[in-house]
């Protein structure tokens, strides 16, 4: 067996930066030992003297314009799974270590005709995916991993050379067990080679069996089985964009990365895609979704990108994009989808919605929801029909069921507001003062008013600028 280890040293950073071509100084932070500190940073940040391990305030002191993102291990794990899906085209046996993929390539070497022909496309595509990689090859998975992390580009094909290759590495590369590492340090030793030279029984007595077990697996003296990764049925990946993208064509950059990942996945599966579902996410708006259809199934990224470009040029979206998703579940999902359609209880709802939306346009079919705000203008919002809401304690008991889209100024006569004659106000107004924090600052006294025609109205006086307004109707 021969194992190819792909180590992604900048994964925490790249899951964030790969959506953009360039970025300013950026640091990934992580809470370690109760303090926020820099975990990774890009070259722009390094130029300011920021380095991993630096406390966050210290980093901000060095560079006030520093962008800071919290480390997102879940997203890294997701990215690694995405990479595995892509790598499936090179090997059917894949397993994980943190920030690292292990591919059994002994079998596929014959297929690809030797290491160099395997590695060249692999590295090229990884670059297109937006990841930097270090690799190593060794007869055991552990050795491959250790070497990729610590002696990148090292290729040990034969069992004989293995011991020699790992001996100079510090023991710390192999184990994090503090006891073991401290012992070795305290007896003035450091490398794996040093440890291999110690008397075996005495060493076992002092460190327990784990260290020897580890060394044996490293050198192939003991088997080292790994759980194998299983490819998913659907392709679904997201790139979060660092910052926002407002120009349509700027989306092509992250879209290409998703496309390369998709095609790797498709090659691994031996399939092709015919229908791609794209979702553009915005900060304060519902996402923009659109589909991309192809006449024939394909796994050619350039072709698919060309089609996408045409689609995207015509696309209009309501707000800058902060993330982009690509999902493909076409080639084996027909059965399942029809099943879920029948089981859905709200099928009729959806049918009516779709009929109305298709004919009248989506923006004319709206739902309504409450927002927790004292200002009447800000206490509600149109939304997708049926969108679930956080239950709120009702606040509007003295407020009318109808609200005017804009408060309507009322004429004033001898200090009394007029609406088909002088309005009579019920006493005890509701005073609403809110909004100093966002620029829509109101201070109003709302009254229930009675018009000469007998209508009940909701009117207010603007306490700051003066003047009376009609804002709602009770009838």
């Amino acid at each position: 067996m021969l194992w190819l280890a792909l180590y992604f040293p900048h994964l925490p950073l790249e899951v964030i930066t790969r959506g953009r071509q360039q970025a300013g100084a950026l640091a990934i932070i992580e809470k370690l030992g109760g303090r926020e500190q820099v975990s990774r940073c890009n070259s722009a940040a390094q130029a300011y003297g920021i380095r991993p391990g630096l406390a966050l305030p210290a980093a901000l002191a060095l560079c006030t314009g520093l962008s800071v993102q919290r480390r997102d291990r879940a997203r890294e794990q997701q990215a690694l799974h995405g990479l595995a899906a892509w790598a499936y085209q090179f090997s059917a046996r894949i397993s994980f270590e943190p920030s690292l993929l292990l591919l059994e390539v002994g079998a596929s070497l014959r297929l690809f005709g030797g290491l160099p022909t395997l590695l060249a496309p692999l590295q090229r595509e990884l670059e297109q995916l937006g990841y930097s990689v270090r690799h190593a090859v060794a007869p055991t998975p552990m050795a491959a991993g250790v070497l990729a992390r610590n002696r990148p580009d090292c290729q040990v094909v034969m069992q004989d050379g293995l011991c020699e290759a790992v001996a100079p590495l510090p023991l710390a590369c192999l184990t994090r067990a503090r006891d073991v590492r401290n012992l070795i340090r305290h007896i003035g030793m450091d490398s794996i080679g040093d440890v291999l030279a110690l008397p075996r029984a005495e060493l076992a007595r002092r460190t327990g069996p784990q260290l020897l077990n580890l060394l044996d697996r490293l050198l192939g003296r003991l088997p080292d089985p790994r759980p194998e990764w299983q490819p998913p049925r659907h392709f679904s990946q997201t790139i979060e964009l660092l910052g926002e993208i407002a120009q349509t064509m700027a989306l092509m950059f992250p879209a290409r990365r998703l496309m390369v990942a998709l095609c790797g996945f498709l090659r691994g599966q031996g399939g092709g895609a015919q229908r791609l579902q794209w979702t553009l996410r915005h900060r304060d708006h519902p996402p923009t979704r659109f589909g991309q259809g192809l006449l024939d199934p394909s796994r050619d990224p350039d072709h698919m990108l060309e089609v996408l470009r045409e689609r995207i040029e015509r696309l209009q979206f309501p707000a800058p994009v902060v993330a982009i998703d690509l999902r493909v579940d076409d080639w084996q999902a027909f059965e399942e989808r029809s099943l879920t359609l029948f089981e859905r209880p709200a099928q009729a709802d959806q049918a009516l919605l779709e009929r109305l939306s298709n004919r009248l346009g989506e923006q004319r079919i709206r739902g309504l929801r409450c927002l927790a705000d004292h200002r009447p203008e800000c206490a509600w919002q149109f939304c997708q029909p049926g969108e679930s809401v956080v239950p709120l304690s009702p606040r509007g008991v003295s407020q009318p069921p109808w609200l005017l889209p804009q408060p309507r100024p009322l004429r004033e006569c001898q200090g009394a507001p007029q609406y088909g004659g002088a309005l009579r106000l019920e006493n005890l107004p509701e005073r609403i003062e809110a909004g100093w924090w966002d620029g829509f600052d109101i201070t109003r006294d709302y009254f229930v008013a009675h018009s000469p025609a007998g209508e009940r109205l909701w009117v207010f006086r603007d306490r700051r600028a003066g003047g009376w307004y009609l804002h709602g109707l009770f009838m």
Binding site: T64, N182, W437
Partner: protein
């Protein structure tokens, strides 16, 4: 239809109104105004009375009381409590008994819950508050039940509080309260649920809510108040809202509340006076006994007269019990062998010297006498006592035991918002990002920390001050600054009551288990004239006691050294101080102090008093240092603008150095009355928190100009007052400290080994780490011996030197010679004290033979053994460090075989560590090394890079530009921040760097990051002090190869 009427006519103004439900900002994160602001506003609006009803707290009442007293507003004491079985209600105190009941209730609620919260239920109120009134706000769940309970529990003393807040529910409130009033026969009254003094605090109140709920303001939703009605509303506005009867009822209720905090007639505890004595007679008896002890040959007439004078004053002001209480505590500490020293205005009186509260001899300090108690200032005497820091807890426990927890408790310290904490909280609540907030906060450090933020500051830090969010932020931060945030415990301020303390003030749990704190601060106690004693911890006292113990133990049965036997005014000690050879000496070991010593050249005790007081931020900011120096050196004439000023300033050559002098100047030069001067003193102390000195500025200026002083003199005095506000040092404090300066300097001069050992044994304390202390001792000829399991105790000890051991017969009498310092096992990182003590004890039964013997006999666990091996303390048992580590690692498994197994083991070939590794390991495990200085190991590389050693630099003339490098020991930014002080160290000595702020800013990364700092600098020397004025900084830390030496930065 609803009642057919418009808004009521605004012209009907009620006769009077009393607000009976009002929270101050002592209801943390709810109340949005200071007590003073509320009182002042209520007074301005013509309220008949104001009740301060903070939630389960009386923390703010003293402040409100003082303000109300000054303005003549009737203040009612009360509290809002939320019962865990509902409802919430407002309790009001009617008389002294009711006040005691409320204090006990609050204490009960607070003591039954975690710090910062409380827990009360209905049962706690039943029959507990016969002298309190209760108001029930009507906006609650299950009002029927609550009203029924209230009517029963507070029959004839309960009201429904109708709180009309214009939030859309007012109609319901009126209707609902009307019905409840009928059903349960409860009268109704108006109240405002006041959270702020003016409507304008609405935004700040929202921010407080946001902080409380940890949510940005914009996301608060309905948790935010819908309007700003919860403020003190003008009477005519109330008249438009409320039926007149409800307003009138408030005045009626206020009339039933006749209690004032002035009624807290406080009696000092008198548990000390034995039967048959009056306190005065007993104090006189003790004082006379003290005179006989202090002056066996007879008391000087001047001192006798002083004592009589003091005793008369004490009698007149009835302070005997106070002196006796302090005497008792000090006596007890002494009996336990705990060293202590009093300070504070009364502490250095002759009576206190006789009572052994202080060691400052009045005959050495003739200048201090007249200032110890002021007859005019109606306030209790102030005695703080410093105790050895590691044993203060014993003293505290004694106080608790003697007086009981219901009579003694710690004063609170109010933690208030500073600019930075306010920025963080306001920033978060305005939805600013983490990084923006941190950028703002780090910009603040450049501004003066206690100052308001101004737009220019924001612009300086690279922000747009016109940005609306930043404008809001700035205004909110400025008003939030100074707001109380939570109560904490005072470091050692005790209040002791004659009776139950919890009937005087509520008591809360402190963060520390087994501690309780009262809800008042020291200022509050002082304002009400309550007894307080500061039981403080001072590391130097521990070190001094340990030094003396070490000396006495080593020197054997000769006459034991005591504090009293240390000779006064030893010229050798002053010569040492003048050289700034003061590493480890109390107070004068800091860089700033050291640079002053050769210039000030102290020749006697009073010089030390001045030295201690002058090198402080106050005098430095007030620009007093240089005039004093010039005058002392005779380079400037000493003159006084008037005889009156001469009387105040003569002893400090015309420059005000002590806090009392400033106060006295305000009196003699600006015509302040004693009372005003006293207000000024308090305002000075509080200035950084809440400002308010501007008032005095005008008065000072005009008063001094009227008396013919030059404007310039007046302005300087005002500046000095500002400086003192933060860091003023009263003369009596300085004198107490100066005594410890002298004692510690004497010990260092004549017993350097013992002094160094004691300092290390008292760590953490002082300015220097063990490595520097040890190096300094070695430079003074002390032989330092390594930590070794066969020789070391937990503490550092004194040993006969190796040379002496070799040369002399055992048992010969020890002569006058210098002992060696044996480092203690306490330096070994990761070793438990218990294990170390077992090692020392069991060694007494015979030396340890090998590692297994040590492990078995001293019952050491693996962690202990590892620590010992890594610290190279097993060299006698196992050989070099690497072998020791290998051996130790095998111990636990070998133990069951009882030592046989170890002979069979195959021992690997392990090389000893080289010198560099050994130094590294020493630093890692001990924090110091007796081997070569790390820089000696890399001297060759340093030389290649052109660096001179500290010693070589000393041989260069001033003005030369040199390259120097060293380990960074200390980084400091003194008061004004214009320069950074850095202390470097190499194998030949220390170097003092001076780095101007602009260079520091340019090379900030290197300055803050380098462990091994290289500089290009100009040598400057003045009056025996050498500085290197830096031109450029370089980071050479990589030469140290990971050597982890921690510097002490900016502390």
């Amino acid at each position: 239809m609803a009642a057919p009427c418009g808004p009521r006519s605004p012209h009907r103004v009620p006769d009077a109104y009393a607000e009976l439900h009002c929270l101050t900002n002592y209801t943390f994160l709810r109340g949005a105004s200071h007590p003073e602001e509320l009182v002042e506003r209520a007074h301005a609006l013509g309220y008949r009375a104001l009740a301060v009803t903070d939630e389960c707290s009386l923390s703010g009442v003293v402040r409100a009381h003082q303000e109300a007293k000054a303005l003549g507003l009737a203040l009612i004491i009360g509290s809002e409590v939320h019962l865990c079985d509902g409802p919430h209600l407002v309790l009001l105190v009617t008389n002294r008994a009711g006040y005691a009941q409320l204090c006990r209730l609050i204490t009960r609620g607070r003591r039954h819950a975690d710090k910062g919260s409380y827990r009360l239920q209905r049962a706690d109120l039943e029959d507990a508050l016969p002298d309190c009134l209760a108001l029930l706000p009507t906006d609650q769940d299950d009002m029927e039940d609550a009203a029924a309970w209230l009517a029963k529990t507070f029959a004839g003393r309960a009201w429904l509080a109708v709180e009309l807040l214009r939030d859309g529910y007012d109609t319901e409130r009126l209707r609902c309260s009307e019905r409840l009033a009928q059903v349960y026969r409860l009268p109704r009254l108006a109240s405002g649920d006041v959270h702020m003094h003016v409507r304008g605090r609405r935004a700040l109140q929202d921010v407080l809510t946001a902080v409380r709920l940890n949510t940005p303001v914009a996301a608060l939703g309905h948790a935010r108040l819908s309007n700003g009605e919860r403020h003190l509303r003008p009477l005519d506005d109330l008249a438009t809202l409320y039926p007149a009867a409800l307003l009138e009822e408030t005045v009626h209720v206020a009339g039933r509340c006749g209690f004032s905090l002035d009624a807290l007639r406080y009696e000092y505890p008198d548990d000390v006076t034995p039967a048959g004595f009056t306190p005065h007679a007993w104090l006189r008896r003790l004082t006379e006994q003290g005179i006989a002890r202090r002056w066996p040959d007879g008391c000087p007439a001047r001192v006798c007269a002083q004592i009589e004078h003091e005793l008369a004053l004490i009698a007149e002001l009835h302070y005997e019990a106070y002196f006796l209480t302090v005497w008792d505590i000090v006596r007890h500490a002494r009996a336990l062998g705990i060293l202590c020293q009093g300070r504070g205005s009364a502490a250095n009186s002759a009576v206190c010297y006789c009572l052994e509260i202080t060691e400052v001899d009045p005959s050495r300090m003739n200048l201090l006498f007249e200032r110890f108690i002021s007859r005019e200032r109606d306030e209790p005497p102030d005695i703080d006592v410093d105790f050895e820091h590691q044993r203060r807890e014993e003293v505290i426990q004694y106080i608790y035991t003697k007086y009981g927890r219901d009579r003694a408790a710690l004063a609170a310290t109010l933690i208030t918002y500073r600019t930075r904490s306010a920025l963080r909280d306001v920033g978060k609540s305005l939805g600013l990002g983490l990084e923006q907030i941190e950028a703002l906060v780090s910009a603040v450090s450049a501004w003066r920390r206690h100052a308001e933020i101004e737009p220019a500051h924001l612009a300086e830090a690279g922000f747009d001050p016109d940005n609306p969010t930043l404008q809001r932020l700035r205004i909110l931060v400025n008003s939030l600054r100074g707001f109380p945030r939570h109560l904490s415990q005072h470091v050692g301020g005790f209040v002791i009551a004659a009776g139950r303390l919890d009937e005087l003030v509520p008591i809360e749990n402190a963060a520390m288990a087994e501690r309780s704190v009262i809800q008042w601060e020291k200022d509050d106690l002082e304002a009400l004239g309550l007894l307080k004693i500061d039981v403080l911890a001072l590391g130097m006292l521990s070190a001094i006691r340990r030094t003396i113990d070490l000396i006495n133990r080593f020197e054997g049965p000769r006459q034991a050294l005591t504090l009293a036997r240390i000779p006064a005014e030893d010229p050798g000690v002053y010569r040492m101080i003048q050289r700034a050879d003061t590493v480890g000496v109390f107070q004068i070991e800091s860089r700033a102090q050291m640079s002053m010593l050769p210039r000030l050249r102290p020749k006697g005790f009073y010089d030390l008093v001045i030295e201690v007081a002058i090198v402080r931020p106050g005098p430095i900011q007030g620009d007093m240092v240089h005039p004093y120096l010039r005058r002392r050196q005779g380079r400037e004439a000493v003159d006084y603008p008037s005889e009156a000023v001469r009387s105040v300033l003569e002893r400090t050559l015309g420059v005000p150095i002590f806090q009392e002098q400033v106060i006295k100047l305000a009196m003699v030069a600006a015509g302040f009355t004693p009372g005003e001067a006293d207000h000024l003193r308090r305002a000075m102390a509080a200035w950084k928190r809440r400002g308010g000195l501007e008032l005095y500025q005008k008065k000072l200026m005009s008063g001094m100009q009227a008396r013919g002083y030059r404007r310039e003199f007046a302005e300087r005095l005002y500046r000095q007052i500002l400086g003192f506000g933060d860091y003023g040092f009263p003369e009596s404090h300085a004198a107490s400290f100066a005594l410890l300066v002298y004692v510690s300097a004497w010990l260092k001069r004549y017993h350097p080994a013992a002094f160094c050992a004691a300092l290390i044994n008292s760590q953490p304390m002082g300015f220097y780490a063990p490595a520097q202390l040890m190096r300094d001792a070695r430079e003074h000829g002390v032989e330092v011996l390594p930590v070794d399991v066969n020789y070391s105790d937990w503490d550092c000890t004194l040993e006969e030197t190796a040379a002496r051991n070799a040369g002399l017969e055992p048992g010969s009498p020890p002569g006058r010679h210098m002992p060696a310092l044996r480092l203690g096992l306490r330096l070994v990182r990761g070793l438990s004290q218990a294990a170390a003590e077992r090692i020392a004890r069991l060694r007494g039964q015979g030396r340890f033979e090998d590692v297994v013997d040590l492990a078995r006999r001293a019952a050491l666990n693996r962690a202990d053994l590892k620590a010992l091996a890594a610290a190279d303390t097993l060299r006698g048992l196992a050989g070099h460090r690497h072998l020791a580590a290998w051996e130790v690692a095998g111990v636990e498994d070998a133990m069951p075989l009882y030592g046989l197994d170890r002979f069979r083991e195959c021992v690997p070939r392990l090389c000893p560590p080289d010198e560099g590794q050994a130094v590294l390991a020493d630093y890692a495990q001990l924090g110091l090394s007796l081997r070569e200085h790390p820089l000696a190991l890399i001297r060759r590389q340093l030389r290649e890079r052109g660096f001179l050693s500290a010693q070589e630099i000393g041989d260069h003339p001033a003005g030369d530009i040199v390259r120097a490098a060293g380990l960074v020991l200390i980084r400091q930014r003194p008061g004004n921040g214009r320069a950074i002080f850095v202390t470097l160290e190499d194998e030949s000595g220390g170097l003092n760097l001076l780095i101007w702020a602009d260079l520091a800013e340019r090379q900030r990364k290197i300055l803050l990051g380098a462990q091994l700092l290289g500089v290009v600098a100009e040598i400057q020397r003045a009056e025996g002090v050498q500085h290197l004025l830096c031109r450029r900084l370089e980071d050479h830390s990589e030469l140290l190869n990971g050597l982890n030496i921690v510097s002490r930065d900016f502390h």
